[in-house]
Structures are given as C-alpha cells and as structure tokens.
C-alpha cells in the first residue's frame, strides 16, 4: 500500500509542478510548432510526398519530436531535484528505488502525453481528419515512446550533477535521434549508409507507426513498429530501474 501511495505521491508532485510551470508547456511546444508551421508550410508549398502535402507528411514526425524533446528533458528535473535536495527527502523515504523510478517515469509520461495531445489537436488546423481508433493508436505510440525516452532522460539525469552537463549530453543524443528517424523524409529510398542508422534508431518506428496510423503511409506494418518500439521501451525501463537502484 505504501509503495502505491508513494508512486502516486511522486506522480502527483510532477503533475502539480507541470501544471504550475506553464512556461514549460509553452516552450516545449514552441519548437515543434515552428517546424510544422514555418518549415513544413514553407517546403509544403512546393513539395508533396507520397501523395500527401509535405506539411502533413511531417506531422507525425513533429508529434514524435514533441514527445521526444519533452520526455528526454524531463530527466533534467531530476538534476534539479538533486540540487535542491528534494531528492534526499525522497531517497530516505521508505520506498523502493523501483517505485521512485516508476513514479518519476509516470510523471514524465503524463507531461509528454499532454504536450503530444496538444500537438495532435493542432493537426485539425492542418486538415488532418481523425477517428477515435486512430487517436487511441497514436496516443499508445506516444505513451510507449515517452516511457522509453523518459527512462533515457532519467538514466542520464541520475548520473549528472549539473544541468549544463545534462543539456550537453542530451543534445548530442536527441538531435541525431530526431534527424535519423525519418521524421522529415521518407525512409524507403535512402542511401544504404543512412538506412543503417534509421533502421537502428528506435525513434524511426515511432514516426513510421504514427505516420501509418494517421496517413496510412508506412515503411513497416504498424504493429511491427509498435512491437519494436515496445521492446525498446521495456529495455530502457529495466536499465532505468537498475540505474536508479544504484543511485545514492
């Protein structure tokens, strides 16, 4: 019972903080909006891909970007927690490290899903038509992606002492993940050296799956995408809980 209460407590805290720091929401949506409106709109005025307007084509990629960025930077808050010693209070509580990790991950996934959801709603303006099963499937993809990437962020955060160090490591990781995911281009006809990277990049399967769900265009069957992404998320959750159990 205590562990469940503790899990709820950790989630509650992250959620409260998220709601109170409105600037977080605005700043994390600003970059994706810039991409979809300016880059997508600009290039979309003369380019279409797979029979779809370019702006709409990259929309699933921008959804991925929203979840990817807000999830991974969630790990930054654990560095802050360590700084303000809030984490000491959590670590000395009679909770298992697994619960602490799970609570943090749930909190991060909630943040990421809300931001992804807002972005998804923005799709209506772009003329994307949704159905209920489609939205459910996309939300599932976003949740699985978020749990994987939040774990990555928390793993990095658990090793880092300074926010600057965290940002440095994360930007080396997050931009390659994004650009090599096929978020901005189709992955069918890539040169073989590039194809190696996109195939190895787990984020590719999030983009591909969501593009399949929303636009019906995908390089792999959607359920294969979900399976691969799910496997990756499971692995990251395991690594994350190990990293947390070692943390002092």
């Amino acid at each position: 019972m205590t562990e469940l209460d503790g899990l709820y407590a950790l989630w509650y805290r992250e959620f409260k903080v998220f709601l109170r720091e409105k600037s977080r929401i605005v700043s994390s949506l600003f970059t994706p909006l810039l991409w979809i409106v300016v880059f997508g709109g600009g290039l979309g005025s003369s380019v279409s891909l797979g029979g779809t307007n370019y702006q709409v084509f990259i929309f699933p990629g921008i959804l991925t970007m929203t979840v990817l960025f807000s999830s991974v930077f969630f790990g930054l808050y654990i560095v802050w927690d360590k700084r303000i010693d809030f984490f000491k209070e959590v670590l000395v509580a009679p909770l298992s490290r697994l619960t602490i990790f799970a609570g943090k991950t749930l909190g991060g996934c909630t943040d990421a899903l809300i931001q992804g959801g807002l972005m998804l709603a923005f799709g209506v303006i772009l003329g994307v038509s949704y159905s209920v099963p489609m939205v459910v499937l996309v939300m599932i993809f976003m949740l699985v992606l978020a749990s994987a990437v939040v774990s990555i962020g928390l793993i990095i955060g658990s090793f880092m002492e300074s926010p600057e160090g965290f940002n440095l490591v994360v930007s080396f990781l997050v931009f390659p993940l994004f650009f090599l995911s096929g978020a901005l281009f189709p992955i069918d006809n890539l040169p073989s050296w590039l194809r190696v990277f996109t195939t190895l990049n787990p984020v590719t399967y999030a983009v591909d799956g969501m593009r399949g769900a929303i636009l019906g265009i995908s390089a792999f069957p959607v359920m294969i995408d979900l399976g691969i992404l799910g496997g990756f998320a499971a692995a990251m959750l395991v690594v994350g809980s190990v990293a947390f159990s070692r943390m002092k």
Binding site: R83, D85, E89, A93
Partner: protein
C-alpha cells in the same frame, strides 16, 4: 522554559540505537572517528559540537544516507548497511538543508510526505493541520514555498519530519536561525514527543542552551570524536563549582590560588576566571584578597564551560549561522 529543562524521573526503554566504532573517512579526513554509543527509547539525545565536528555525518550514516567506512550501527534493531530499508521505515529525518519543493505549497509538500511515509489516509488531513499549527504556518500553508522566508521554510521542514510520527527522529540543527518563541515551541513539542509518544530523538546542535534545556543526554563531539557524554547536569559537575569572572588590573592571584575552595584559576586579557565551590559563601573573601575588581560576574557553569574544559576551545555560534538560509536563497527560483 524551565518546566521541561530538568530530566526528572524519566525512564527510558530498551536500546534503540547502538553504534560500535562507527567511522567515516572522506579522503584523508576522519570526519567521524570511531564513535560508540547507545541510545534508549524515549530519550532526547544531543550531539553538541562546532561545525565540521562530524555531527551531520554521524546522523547521515544512522539515517542510511551514507555508508560508514568502518564500524556498525543498529537502528531499531536493524543494521544500517544490511537492512537499510527497515531502518528507513523506522526513522524520520529533518535535514539542515532545505529539501521541500518550492513550486508546491507547504500543504502539498506535507501531503506528499504523508503519502511517501505511509500515513494512513484517514489520518492525513488531521496530522497535516496539527503540524502546521505547531510550527505556526497554518495561514501560509497554501502559498508556494518559494515565497516563504528562510525561517518559514525551516519550520515547514520540521513539520514534515514530525508528520509521520516516526519511532526515531533525527533532527539536524532543528532550530537553526529561528526566533526564540518558535524555538521554544519546537522544544516543547520535541519534549512532548519523547515523553508521551516515546519517540527517540537524536539531534545535532551547536546551541548550548538547546543541548542544556532539551536533551536528556549530550555527547560533546569535536574533531569526529566524542569527548564527553552524560546528562547536562552531570557534565556540568565536572567543572566542580561556579564561575566567577572578574575584570581586574594587576590581580593578586597567589593568595587566591591557595584557598581550599578554589578549583581552577585562569587569566585571559584583563579578566580572571575562577572556578569556585560554594561561591555565594566565599565570594566576599575572594574579593578581599584579589584586589580592586572593576566588575564581578558570578554564574553557574554552562555547557559552554564544559565544552571549553574538554576541547580547549569554544563553540563559536557564528560558525553555523546562515548556512541554511544561504542554501535556501541559492536554491530558490533557480529553475
């Protein structure tokens, strides 16, 4: 405030904390140097010493936040290394550094703590308002912690440590930087916890009056070692008399030194410090022998004198002042 200052007829239960040769080394620095002590249930135990004496390190080891370099300790019958989970379930700790979330309100911080420490759902609200009233924060409970003053934050931390009524409570400088009125409230509450709820309290302090009025037993700690350990009254007995402090030029000390009731004579600057048995009876005679004193001060010994006696130096209260507030100021609004 004297109504809770004398340890009269208190009975303590079984041993709940026992350390054997507990030591912590940071690099070459021996922060805690093989400390052995045992503390009984219901006791208020003080670790008295200057900053850097190893008080907080000792507390951190007992609270399972630091692993000892050598030695062992059992807290509530559980080994602090091997059974750290069980130890954490029996203890509460109030850190010297602020560790509340400043984006949340005071009440929300307490609610989180109640959840994490397994306070039963039907007791949560009642306990929260109880501790808020205790530290006099009920009017500000719904403000975000970032607008609290340093003293208010400190009080919130204390309220949090008391919230789940742990069997053993660790307090790291519980009244650092608080105003006298709040300090006394806190002392009374700590006393009540120990006497009525049988909570064992281990606190660190560099305030002599806190050790003297609040603690059943005091360990004087300097350079990581315990130099003396006893009740405040017993510790003061070691001085062997009252302190007479004279401001005097050219004192005639030779005849004074030979008086049978003089325990100790010390001369520093323009002052003479005498330790005197039955001083009220003998003061007149001393003053007649020593010469023309500009001023005379007579007092019973304090723990400060005891500390000086054992360590050869005084605890400078200014040492630790501001530490908490500096950290609070630094950590605030930084994200």
């Amino acid at each position: 405030m004297n109504d809770f200052s004398v340890a009269t007829n208190r009975t303590f239960g079984e041993v709940v904390i026992e350390t054997v040769g507990l030591a912590k080394k940071f690099g070459h620095l021996m922060a805690v140097d093989h400390i052995s002590l045992s503390i009984r249930e219901g006791e208020v135990f003080g670790l008295l010493g200057p900053n850097g004496a190893g008080k907080t390190t000792t507390l951190s080891m007992l609270a399972t936040l630091l692993k000892p370099t050598e030695g062992t300790a059992r807290v509530n019958k559980h080994d602090i290394v091997g059974e750290s989970d069980a130890v954490r379930r029996s203890i509460g700790i109030v850190f010297q550094e602020p560790s509340s979330d400043d984006i949340l309100t005071g009440r929300e911080n307490l609610y989180l703590h109640a959840l994490m420490y397994g306070v039963e759902a039907n007791l949560r609200e009642q306990r929260i308002s109880e501790v808020l009233r205790l530290v006099d924060l009920q009017d500000r409970a719904d403000s975000q912690v970032k607008v609290y003053s340093g003293g208010m934050r400190r009080r919130l931390e204390l309220a949090r440590g008391l919230l789940h009524r742990p069997k053993i409570l660790f307090l790291d400088e519980p009244t650092l930087g608080l105003d006298p009125q709040t300090r006394e409230h806190i002392w009374q509450y700590i006393r009540r916890l120990a006497d009525q709820e049988r909570v064992t309290v281990i606190l660190t302090t560099h305030y002599m009056d806190e050790a003297e009025h609040l603690c059943d037993r005091v360990a004087i700690i300097d350079d990581g070692k315990i130099v003396a350990l006893d009740t405040p009254d017993q510790l003061k007995q070691i001085i062997g008399g009252d302190i007479v402090r004279l401001k005097i030029k050219n004192p005639k000390l030779t005849p004074v030194k030979e008086l049978p009731y003089i325990v100790k004579v010390e001369q520093t600057g323009g002052f003479v410090m005498l330790t005197v048995k039955n001083s009220s009876v003998h003061l007149q005679e001393i003053l007649g022998l020593v010469g023309n004193a500009e001023s005379v001060e007579l007092r019973t010994p304090t723990l400060n004198d005891v500390f000086l006696h054992y360590t050869g130096h005084e605890i400078r209260e200014a040492d630790a002042e501001g530490g908490f507030f500096e950290r609070a100021a630094r950590s605030r609004s930084n994200r």
